[in-house]
Symmetry: C2
Subunit: 226 residues, 2 copies
């Protein structure tokens, strides 16, 4: 019997590629998405479309409503999303798009869902290289979480972060090679389709595709990405 | 200015005493409760009454709705609550009233709420002595969680578990000495008022009051506790 894995699926590119990696490793994947009042609610539509395109039965894709638990971030509408920032500026500090304790909460809830579902593995598409200063994308955090979950549950979980050390260019290439439906993903922090092309997420994504020598299959406002 | 602390408040005796401890330490307390489809929804009424009795303004007491995220436990209605178990039986194994990853989820959400509220301290009323086999009540889990939160957020949180090494008798005595409104608390796993007196939680509570030489101020079915 295939091992079951809960895969955090946001609707963005990284988590779609992460889902493809989990499937390549032979896992029966149980995607988990969150509605937390994010600006980019279109993300959840993308998440549904990605899961369906990758053959996940709808009954296995769970979307948890977290209401307004998160606050204090540009992604939850508590501040404007910064646009047109230079790469050095993105790298400098924890950005206003940081959502306090988001991955801590997501992994904790994934652990809660995993145990009764018989899943011993979690996949999360965090990325420490192109990461713009989010503390909860660091491998050290993932390791510490795994330890807390091991001590705080019956059986613990293995947390896989297969993209942790990849560049966005690597991720785009890997996604294409695994047949991940990159055209269905949405990364834009403004939650726009066509994507804005100007927020940190759009810029990092466009730079990644450019470095990979690939065309980004999604549409951008004003034709960025062509 | 008083330091702010998020206090996990279930409506049971331990968390009420924990709130009293946080207040004694001079904290401005921000109680946090969860609606997760627990059998004992009356607990949330108790939590509200306890917070109000301890002078917490209603605007500072948050109740998060987690829908049906937890499953696989007697406390969420997925199995019957065991009654009339002997003490040795309670101590033997992880009981069916264990809710997978519950304290991991509660602490993660408390961390998410704490950061934008400017609270650097969390209080949780876990108890490792009279604990009936719950892995997420162990001090080692609390320490590991603190480490994960430190690495996964901007500033981290200090997690206080002041009851960790106390017996239920100690907790009852401490609560009485601090003026915690024990008469408003509800511990019964069946969520009954009067309390059933037969589930593990009622039995541990009654035993604690008896050992402390105190009368439990809540009512029990059939007059247990008198």
């Amino acid at each position: 019997m295939a091992k079951r894995a809960v895969v955090l699926l946001s609707g963005g590119m990284d988590s779609a590629v992460c889902l493809a990696v989990a499937q390549r490793e032979g896992m029966e994947t149980w995607p988990l998405s969150f509605d937390y009042g994010q600006r980019h609610l279109l993300e959840l539509e993308s998440a549904r479309a990605v899961a369906a395109a990758m053959g996940v039965p709808p009954s296995r894709h769970r979307i948890l409503d977290l209401g307004r638990v998160f606050s204090g971030s540009a992604l939850t509408g508590d501040a404007p999303v910064p646009l047109d920032r230079a790469a050095e500026e993105m790298a400098r500090d924890i950005p206003i798009t940081y959502v306090p304790a988001r991955n801590l909460v997501f992994l904790a809830l994934a652990t809660a869902v995993a145990e009764p579902a018989g899943a011993g593995d979690l996949f999360i598409g965090v990325n420490a290289l192109d990461y713009s200063g989010y503390p909860d994308c660091r491998p050290a955090f993932i390791t510490a979480f795994e330890q807390a979950a091991r001590l705080g549950t019956k059986a613990g979980v293995r947390v896989h972060a297969p993209l942790a050390h990849m560049t966005k260019a690597d991720i785009a290439r890997l996604g294409a090679s695994l047949g991940a439906p990159l055209h269905l993903t949405l990364s834009c922090y403004l939650g726009q389709r066509p994507a804005c092309g100007r927020c940190d997420a759009c810029q990092l994504r466009l730079k990644g595709f450019a470095e990979a020598g690939m065309a980004d299959p999604i549409a951008y406002a004003g034709g960025a990405g062509r």
